[in-house]
Amino acid sequence: MTRECQITGIDTRRRSFLKTSLGAAAVAIAPGMLLLDTAHGQSVSGKVRWGMLIDTAQCKAGCNECVTACNRENGLSGETKPTDSQWIRKVELKDVGSGHELSLPMMCQHCEHPPCVDVCPTTASFKRADGIVLVDKHRCIGCRYCMMACPYKARSFVHEPLHDQNPDVPRGKGTVEACTFCVHRVDQGQQPACAEACPNKAILFGDLNDPESEIAKKVRSVASVQVRVDLRLNPGIRYQGL
């Protein structure tokens, strides 16, 4: 009888200890779970393929509005020394045969098969389900192999300490960066800064996978090309009139 009482006594204490522990654990984990949920936000859909159609006939030589808007939005200095980051640049082209001249913006082409993602040793370069190619600044070790591999010279390396960053666009000294398609804006249903800033509406941004989207309709109706199509990377950016 005494032995039974002892056992019951021990069991009660153990039960209450377990209850308290479980309660404490729940209280400790719950805020973390909530934060995790907030951090993940809405999940990115693989049904979407973000892309751009750039009409070179509407892009004027000497106009730099897209570049200025990109620099402002992403907190870049706007300087053009060889060590300064340029996420988007205006390229002036002259056809060697005909002499025809054109001007166009060049940036990360957000390839379906991005060489930068293939070569990155730490998986810091990655492609989101919606086709946006990004660099995880916490994983990038700054080896610059992606810069060697990119056929479009779209990436920059941060050569100096940074100040006054835009909180929506984290950057880091010693890491590689490139156009993000203004992912922080796109996730809120807005357009990339360059597309919004273009005075001639030469940059059309949208979902290439949605047959009813303006960009998908235009890609179907006008002739456009991908740069270095021979490499078969299937970039998300197409150029009209190139």
Binding site: T80, K81, P82, T83, D84, S85, Q86, R89, K90, V91, E92, L93, K94, D95, V96, G97, M106, P115, V117, D118, V119, C120, P121, T122, T123, A124, R139, C140, I141, G142, C143, R144, Y145, M147, M148, A149, C150, P151, Y152, K153, R155, S156, F157, V158, H159, E160, P161, G172, K173, G174, T175, V176, V227, R228, L231, L242
Partner: protein
């Protein structure tokens, strides 16, 4: 007492050399500290020339580290007694140069403090990530190989260990060549010839590094290598030099055959300023023709000539890598075939590169690491080749 004075002198010389090596390593580390503090802005590298002088040093050391094991392989795998006696020294040199090269490569990273991420987030499609395994595996294998050779009880295992090292270093140098060969968009690099080219140049550079180290050890011990052994080794170096010349010629000739590559070849071989100069004078003349003359010309080919030839091969190796790595990036990417391009980001323009003192300090720091490991290694363990009376194989 007078009989002790040469030993006393050597002791002092050893510590002086150790101190010199250590100082250069410290200077390299100071450059790294400044590069980490200020960023890569203090180097000559930028967004056009993303890999610079540190990579020239690092890749030379890594390629030579693989090639120097050729001496060991000829001994362990092909059973040549003269080379077997030199296998331990070859193993030590390999570990030393690999350590120096990898240190430079790692400390040049934008975030060397995150190097552990390369192990925790492994990308199976990345040649760089493959090389992380290949290089660390090489360290372990060569260490085991040295143990098998230098511990009498383990001697029976030295042959299988030698085979493993032989296979591993082929794969490793293939991996180093592939880092460039897979860069399909760059005119200088996308070529299937690069892995075999890197393997053959590793033979020549490794052999040259070995001959210089061997000469220093013999001199230290007041000995002269057997002339017959010198003759064999210099002939082998000559074969390797001709092999590298052949493959380098094949690489450029195939490029010349492709019409879209002729612009790049013209730049590297003819009108690219420093790059053709370094290619023809630095690599072809100093790094190949002169060493071949020193090795094979009648009345030459003695010990001193072989050492001079080896040093010239090493210099030529640096010239080759400078042209290959920096020149390959300086020539503009052909993003818009058929168009002349210009922009604020160097499109269509030859990129300029002026290496800074910090890059050289880091590179020489890597050489000094290799030097110091070798110096301490030969001091504390017996790496002096123990030749038996020469018998023709």
């Amino acid at each position: 007492m007078p009989a002790h004075s040469p030993l006393h002198f050597k002791n002092r010389l050893y510590y002086a050399l150790l101190a010199a090596g250590g100082l250069v390593v410290l200077a390299g580390l100071y450059a790294v500290y400044l590069m980490e503090h200020h960023g890569h802005i203090i180097t000559g590298m930028d967004d056009q020339i993303v890999w610079g002088m540190p990579h020239v040093f690092a890749i030379f050391l890594i390629v030579a580290a693989s090639g120097v094991l050729n001496v060991a392989s000829i001994g362990s795998v092909f059973g040549k007694a003269d080379y077997k006696a030199r296998a331990p020294l070859a193993g030590l040199l390999s570990i030393a140069m690999l350590a120096g090269g990898l240190t430079v490569l790692m400390l040049d990273l934008g975030r060397p403090d995150r190097i552990i991420v390369a192990a925790t987030n492994y990308n199976i499609t990345s040649v760089f990530a493959w090389n992380v395994l290949l290089y660390s595996g090489m360290f372990a294998l060569v260490a085991v190989y040295l143990w098998m050779m230098m511990e009498r009880r383990m001697n029976p295992w030295s042959k299988p260990a030698g085979f493993a090292v032989f296979a591993w270093r082929f794969i490793l140098t293939t991996g180093t060549g592939l880092i460039f060969a897979f860069l399909v968009a760059r005119q200088a690099y996308a070529s299937a010839l690069l892995p075999p080219l890197f393997i053959v140049i590793s033979f020549a550079w490794g052999m040259a590094a070995f001959l210089v180290a061997q000469a220093a050890i013999y001199a230290w011990n007041d000995k002269e290598p057997d002339p017959e052994i010198t003759r064999r080794m210099k002939n082998l170096l000559g074969v390797f030099i001709i092999g590298t010349l052949y493959l380098v010629a094949a690489y450029h000739l195939t490029n010349l055959y492709f019409a879209h590559q002729t612009g790049f070849e013209r730049f590297i071989l003819l009108d690219g300023g420093i790059y053709p100069q370094l290619f023809w004078w630095g690599y072809v003349v100093i790094g190949n023709i002169l060493p071949l003359l020193l090795i094979h010309a009648p009345s030459l080919g003695k010990n001193k000539c072989v050492i001079a030839a080896s040093m010239l091969v090493i210099l030529g190796g640096f010239a080759f890598l400078y042209v290959f790595i920096i020149g390959g990036q300086a020539y503009p990417l052909n993003i818009f075939p058929g168009y002349q391009a210009s922009s604020s980001f160097g499109d269509g323009q030859i990129a300029a590169y002026h290496p800074s003192i910090y890059e050289f300090l880091l590179g020489f720091g890597g050489l000094a690491i290799a030097f110091t490991i070798t110096l301490v290694g030969v001091r504390v363990l017996n790496f002096m080749p123990q030749d038996k009376p020469h018998i023709a194989d």
